[in-house]
């Protein structure tokens, strides 16, 4: 058994940078490289896209870029890969990875796909109520696009046990992707909640990539970060008991320190004593952190409690459209012109009978981000963007927003700046709701492919 397992992050979301994954593969001396590429609405968005474009393969659109960047070094070092880039088509993603392996001349590499998280056809039978509003899940039936359960680490561990070098899954809880290698290497039992708590806690620290190495962190004069344009993704050195050291490859920007680790520990966490994952309930409250060296933080005493009998399910629903656009004012009087422009838009929306559930007209530069919290005595900015957005039932209604902004060009206020209409100014809303299903009703399956 290995004494220390080195696990690196390859991505924290679909749009993440590619280069830091390559650095980890080439210079991280990794046993495992793990990719997290899904947001809450990723699967539903993929389903919508697949409906419109049957040629869309249904896996991470950057799968090729990521694999081309890391496969050569991973093959050389023997680094295994665990990734949730399979989205709605893990088999297709596995086959595509085999394609790249063959191109590199790597023979006999086993790629496993983990399926079974999609339960769209069964969710209304399995799940009772919606967590956010207490209504029955049947109330979502008409608009449902996709329902997927968050799987835990177990199917990935099984795939590794059956000889997989690369595991590509659909929806798996983010921390579990990173913990699966720990369970496999150290033989942690799925019911060993003490170790799984530590492992899943470490997975949580890793799942957002650069957010623990100096990303989403710098605040000049308060929290300074060296070379914030040159951030690495994290590496965790895990020991058999779940103690670990977080670090990053040398020669990169960013920082791994007590502040970056604490901020990430609580990121998207509600009760820090009860962070529920499919594998275990993590307790961060007794965690101990220690700066063990430059860009090295020792993490111990993250603990765990037995897992819950249910799995969380995300249900994506089409819920209408958002139309949005913006135009600009600058110089003395920018605010008074923006205020009149707002009035013009409000009146125009009456004239064109805009049917909207909500309309929002903000002055970007003054109150578009913090809205009603903006201090009354905030100074008038030199430049202001009038930003307008409306939520509507149909795309036709949402289009009216951009059309009325078009009208501001020659029929608007003096000195109005505008963009060239360069993009579709409407987008479809995929609302995400949550529910719980008994875990025994979700049975993952594993398929193998080989180069």
């Amino acid at each position: 058994m290995k004494k220390i397992v080195r696990i690196g992050a390859g991505s924290a979301w679909w749009g993440d940078r590619i280069e830091p994954a390559r650095w980890n593969a080439e210079r991280g001396d990794l046993d495992y490289l793990c990719f997290e590429t899904m947001a809450e609405a990723t699967v539903s968005a993929a389903q919508v896209r697949k409906r419109r474009d049957p040629s869309f393969p249904g896996y991470d659109t950057y799968l090729d870029d990521r694999m081309q960047a890391v496969l050569p070094a991973c093959l050389k070092r023997g680094t295994k890969i665990v990734t949730n880039q399979g989205w709605i088509n893990p088999d297709g993603a596995a086959q595509r990875i085999v394609y790249w392996l063959n191109k590199l001349g790597a023979k006999g590499i086993r790629v496993a796909s983990v399926n079974g998280s999609l339960i769209t056809d069964r969710v209304l039978k399995l799940a009772g109520t919606i967590m956010e509003n207490g209504k029955p899940t049947s109330s979502l039936a008409d608009n449902m696009v996709s329902a997927e359960a968050y799987l835990g680490a177990e199917p990935i561990v099984e795939a590794l046990n059956r000889g997989a070098h690369i595991v590509v899954s659909g929806r798996v809880a983010d921390p579990s992707i990173f913990m699966a290698p720990m369970m496999y290497e150290f033989g942690w039992d799925a019911m060993d909640h003490a170790r799984l708590g530590a492992g899943n806690g470490l997975g949580h620290l890793m799942e957002c990539g650069a957010q623990v190495t100096g990303g989403y962190f710098a605040d000049p004069g308060f929290k300074d970060v060296p070379e914030p344009w040159n951030l690495a993704f994290p590496i965790v050195e895990v020991e058999q008991d779940g103690s670990a050291t977080l670090t990053k490859v040398s020669g990169t920007g960013g920082a791994v320190n007590l502040m970056t680790v604490k901020e990430q520990m609580f990121y998207e966490v509600h009760d820090p004593a009860n962070y529920i994952t499919p594998d275990v309930v993590v307790d961060f409250t007794k965690a101990r952190l220690e700066q063990a060296g430059p860009d090295r933080v020792r993490v111990t005493h993250i603990s765990g409690k037995p897992r819950t009998p249910t799995l969380k399910v995300s249900i994506g629903c089409t819920e209408g459209f958002i139309g949005e656009d913006m135009f600009f004012y600058a110089g003395p009087g920018a605010l008074r012109r923006a205020q009149l422009a707002k009035k013009v838009l409000e009146e125009r929306f009456k004239v064109v009978k805009l049917e909207a559930e909500e309309v929002r007209i903000d002055f970007l530069g003054l109150n578009a981000i913090h809205g009603a919290m903006t201090p009354k005595d905030a100074p008038e900015p030199y430049e202001i963007a009038v930003r307008v957005a409306a939520r509507t039932k149909t795309r036709e209604e949402a289009i009216k927003v951009g059309r009325e902004v078009d009208g501001m060009a020659v029929s608007g206020i003096g000195m109005t700046g505008k963009r060239v209409p360069h993009q579709d100014r409407t987008r479809e809303i995929i609302g995400v709701w949550s529910t719980l299903v008994p875990r025994e009703n979700v049975v993952p399956s594993i398929n193998f492919f080989e180069s």
Partner: protein, 146 residues
């Protein structure tokens, strides 16, 4: 008589002690200063549906008790008035000198439905940086950004 005198004296001593303690309680801060939270703590916000969690982490252990005492869930909610529409729960992690605020109804109906430009509320945590606290002047060397 002697016994009564003793009792009176003891009572008086207790009274004086109580007064001193009371004064200590009121003025234990010594010379104080008003300061924005950004000098005491750093923060990060995360999103889950229509709920935002905002962690507030002390720069130094000595600063944490003042955050814990003065930045209550109620005051936090008041500081976010107009944006946070639901319940605010505070979780304390004393060992790491961190407070985690879970603010419901903070994201305009949820990330995908929100009409706010910052759908995820990634910049919401910055609001708490302007919360004002009163701390001992003696803690000035521990403050960041001054």
């Amino acid at each position: 008589m002697w016994e009564a005198h003793c009792k009176l004296t003891i009572s008086f001593v207790f009274f004086v002690l109580l007064c001193v303690c009371d004064l200590c309680g009121k003025y234990s801060l010594g010379v104080t200063m008003k300061v924005m939270l950004q000098h005491l703590a750093h923060c990060r916000s995360g999103d889950k549906g229509n709920t935002s969690n905002i962690s507030v982490i002390a720069y130094a252990p000595e600063l944490y008790p003042y955050l814990k005492e003065q930045l209550t869930a109620e005051r936090f909610k008041a500081h976010y008035a107009g944006v946070v529409t639901g319940k605010v729960t505070r979780y304390d992690v004393d060992g790491l000198q961190a407070l985690n605020f879970v603010a419901e109804g903070a994201l305009g109906g949820g990330v995908s439905r929100s009409l706010c430009l910052d759908n995820y509320g990634k910049s919401l945590s910055a609001r708490v940086l302007s919360f004002e606290l009163e701390i001992p002047e003696a803690l000035r060397p521990q403050l960041h950004g001054l």
